[in-house]
């Protein structure tokens, strides 16, 4: 599957411009991580790719065909997990997935693979069968999200995490060629997060997966491509290694006390609890900007981690992590 986004802009009826002349090329197999702060345009991009919106200008091509014409075939090959969604509470998990499978036309269309049973890909039955494929697909999806015990439970009785897993299961139904997952691991416990991370990684072996998340760990270990967005523009598109490389020499640690002793700088401010949210109050050090990304209380004082175009003398250079690199990228845009 190949998606080509050409010079796409999107302005909402209220005048808010969510995307600005955005161009992007995505091709399967790939697991693409989509990063960016709130309001960056990630959700708008995903809505455009799921044909929930049409761009104000520009073109989105699906396998070379403009999206409006390719909408039906896109939806037939799309698994979509939005950030905010609802379920039919009166149905059981199995009934709900059967419902969604039917809407997707899985019973008649058949599938090419199953996310959780790669071993069955090459069997004669799974390649050619339409009979009972529906049921099999539903069971596969339930198994994939580890909801076998809740398959017969009414959705209204599920916990938040189980509902989220049900949502993931519906996206996985029929092994779609294109998976869009918006914050899929929200509400899941760490063990499940790791499990799903691996699941998405496996799924991306032969298809295109677009994963939007605030949790850097989720993308760090599994994505082979990262897209960083802010203010409706793409700041970076490449591999995680390339993003990390771009931050090399721009990450450092220092003692807060040492920084305060530096008279050229005002008192550093606390960062937010969200690790991905860089503080908007930069620390100015001799005409340069230092963005604190972490602040740890230790027995010897407060140890700070920061990114900057040029590190101040009191900061010791550190090997950047993906989170550092992401924050460095965003901080540069904030500074500019």
């Amino acid at each position: 599957m190949e998606i080509n986004i050409k010079n796409v802009s999107m302005t909402y009826p209220n005048g808010k411009q969510a995307l600005k002349n955005l161009s992007l090329w995505l091709r399967s197999p790939s697991l693409v991580g989509l990063l960016g702060p709130n309001g960056a345009g990630k959700s708008t991009l995903m809505k455009l790719l799921s044909a929930a919106l049409l761009p104000t200008s520009g073109v989105i091509e699906i396998n070379g065909q403009p999206l409006p014409q390719a909408e039906k075939s896109l939806k037939a090959r799309l698994g979509y997990l939005p950030q905010d969604f609802g379920l039919f509470d009166e149905l059981t998990v199995e009934q709900f997935l059967e419902y969604m499978a039917t809407l997707k036309g899985i019973s008649s269309r058949g599938s090419t693979s199953s996310p959780s049973s790669a071993a069955s890909h090459n069997t004669f039955a799974s390649r050619h069968s339409t009979m009972s494929h529906h049921t099999t697909t539903v069971k596969d999806a339930i198994r994939a999200v580890n909801l076998e015990k809740n398959a017969k439970s009414r959705i209204r009785t599920l916990s938040g995490g189980q509902r989220q897993r049900t949502g993931i299961a519906q996206a996985l139904l029929g092994s779609p060629d294109f998976l869009i997952l918006d914050e899929p691991t929200v509400g899941l416990d760490p063990e499940e997060r790791i499990r799903f991370r691996n699941l998405f990684s496996r799924a991306a072996q032969d298809r295109l997966v677009l994963l939007s998340t605030h949790i850097i760990e989720d993308v760090q270990s599994v994505c082979n491509q990262l897209i960083v967005m802010n203010h409706g523009k793409i700041l970076f598109s490449g591999t995680p290694e390339e993003l990390i490389q771009s931050a090399s020499g721009h990450v450092g640690v220092f003692w807060e006390k040492e920084a305060q002793n530096n008279h050229t700088a005002p008192r550093p401010l606390c960062i937010t609890e969200q690790p991905l949210h860089v503080t908007n109050q930069p620390l100015h050090v001799t005409n340069q900007t230092l963005h604190i990304t972490a602040r740890i209380n230790t027995a010897n004082g407060v140890r700070c981690r920061a990114v900057a175009d040029t590190l101040p003398p009191f900061a010791q250079p550190e090997e950047p992590s993906l989170e550092d690199a992401y924050l460095y990228l965003i901080s540069r845009e904030v500074t500019q």
Partner: protein
Amino acid sequence: MKSVRLLTLKILPPNRRHVFRDAPCARQTFADWWYTRPPGACRFTLKVPPPNRRHAFRDAPCARQTFMGRWNACPPGACRFTLELRRLLQSPLTWLTIFLTLLSPLAGLYIYQPASASTMHTMYLANPALAGGAAGGILFALLTVYELDRAGRSRMDVLVDAAVSPLTMALVRLLALAGAAILTLGAVMALWLPITAKLIGSVFHMEDYLLAYVIFMGLALPLSILAAASAFQFTRRADLSLAIFAAFAGLSLTVWSDRWQLCWLNPCVWALSDDFSNLRIFRSAAWMRMTWLGALTGIWILSWLSIRQYGKGLLGSLSQSLARNARLLYRPAAAFLLLVCSGTAFAAQPFVDQSNPDQTVMTFLEIPFLEGVSFLHRSVFVCPDTAAGTVAGKAIFQLQNHSGQTQTLAFGINPGYKISSVQANGRDASFSVSDDQEYNESLLQVTIPPAEDIELSIEYGGFPQEDSSMSAMQGRLEISDEYLCLENSVLSPRLMNVPPVNVPLKNVSAKDVPEAEYVPYPTTIEITLPAHMTVIPFSPSQPEKLAENTDGTITWRYEDSGTGGILYAGDYLRQDIEAGGLTIQLYYGRRHQAVMEAAGAAQAVKAVVDYCTEHYGPLSFGADGTLKLIQSRVSGGGYARNGASLLDEVDFTAANLDDAGKGTVPGEVMIHELVHQWWGLANMFDPASANDAWSAEGLTVYTTYRIVKELYGEDSSSSYARENYVKKWLQAVDDYQKNFYVRNPRYLAALPQKEQLNISNSLSYVRRYNEMPLKILKAEQLVGGEEAMDAILCDLFNRELDYTYPYLTYSDFLDACGLTEEELNLKKN
């Protein structure tokens, strides 16, 4: 099955055997393979039954799975509909809706009774079905709005829209709601069938039951669903949608309730017959339903195209829907076509005419007779199509034109008929049909040549229309193989401006000629009907069988007189009763046989005729010593003419006949109509005084009261007669005198003409049916009691007639009583 398995094992390629061997359900996998096998994979196709045959599943350990597998391979649209319907049926609100709809016919038995007639089918079928339709429609509209709103409210639409187009999903939801409505209707019909059959009793008719529930109730549900869904799809707001639907339904239930084409939720049904068919009212209601179905489907398609997509508003979504694909232009085209079709169906409805609503206008009666043209004979050949409810006929008039000039004849024809041919002496004659309609007739004008002897042939036919003033009470012109009634211009064109034989009057019109002098319009009528139908001319004539046709029909012939004529036919039984020196031929529907026999109707008829003959004298209209007493299909009353009297079936219903409070006499309308044989045939009262309180009804109602009082016995029934006659007259007259428009006639004059007419007709009815009987009762007291009044009435009935003015006037009555008008004044001081 054994051979199948053996053969399967034989031909399988080695690399595929493990698939079947290891599969949890070997036959299922085999079936998979069967449907996807490569061409030429096997050569035993003819020998091995395909696995979708029933026996292939019968012995399979996982037969159900295999069947479900087949089911799941259904087309996507059908699968989506099935799944959505199943999902809908999982919702508690759906079940609440279904449960309440199941109970809703109960409202028709106790609360909501729009059909006013008292036949068993009206009370226990029409009203429950109408109530079920109104309540069920509203309930399903609420369910529709809830379900459509719910997807967005619960954010479920985000998932669904990513899987399938919102338009597709809206269609699937609509069909699922319609499917639920159909299932509900089936359940309602199954539940209410035994109840209705028990309530209606021996006259219960299954065909009527099915049609009533499907048309009166069933079609209300999809209409409501379409209306509610359209409102929601346009507005995307549940509250606004409910308000719009409430206004739309409210209009139907109130302002439009007596406008048969507009009351989409509650069809204008006033009666269903027990004894005869009801096809005409079913056709009419179905026409209205289909008109609205077309209109609402068209509106729904437009709203469907406006479903919000791609983050756009109403117009943006609509334009996007239209602009995406030129091939999809058929969608708005279909909506437009449906709206045009329904508009056409509304404007060109075939059931009701466009008669002048002002019933005081009688211009057709004022057309002057032609000079030099006289009537010799009329022959009518009628062939009703009892399946289609239509009539085809040919009328041949033998005339003489002494004028030596072309003349223009005027006929009244039913507005529903088309004239296909008019020939005078074998040549086409020019004719025109005017758009002016009066009293359910159009004016047909035919020009005849100046020849002395004229044979005028008119071929006509079509679906007869009913009078627009009675549009809320349709069904009178029922034509089926169970019943038909062809009256005057429905039977054949009615000649209006040629005097009867031997009455070549100058400067007079039809209105000026007493009915007795119309007798010389000799007529022969031939009618072809299914063999089981009994032909009953509404005249002294007795039909004779002319031919038994090969198609199972019989052609009948009878002689008649007059320019019109009335003919009844149907599945009738006849009972001859000797009473009052006459042979009464009592005709009633075969369905009603058990009820009539149980009620002893024949004895009751005998008692009434004997009473009237004894008190007032023998009937002067009993033709050849016979009187036909014909039970008609429910018609809201009856009428009488020389040799025949009509009785509405309403008075013969089991409920009415079993009413212990009324004694053993089967219904007072029967008595009333019989009394018209003594008081009230057209030549007794001047028909010109349309608004006069003095008419045939005053004396007839008074006499009916007297008969009821006497027949029911002095102790019990005198109170019954007082309660049901005198007190009702007093109440009605009191209401009349207090009526705002009676006290302030200038405000009546300020109303729109139609309203004026409605009020005037209503007030006129009170004066004739209530005020005048009360005045006669007052006269009875003033002249010395019942015996004195009986003597006066007997003298009036047997008085010497002045044939130049044979009418019995109010002055005649006052003079006979020796009273003045002021003495009978009822106004309170």
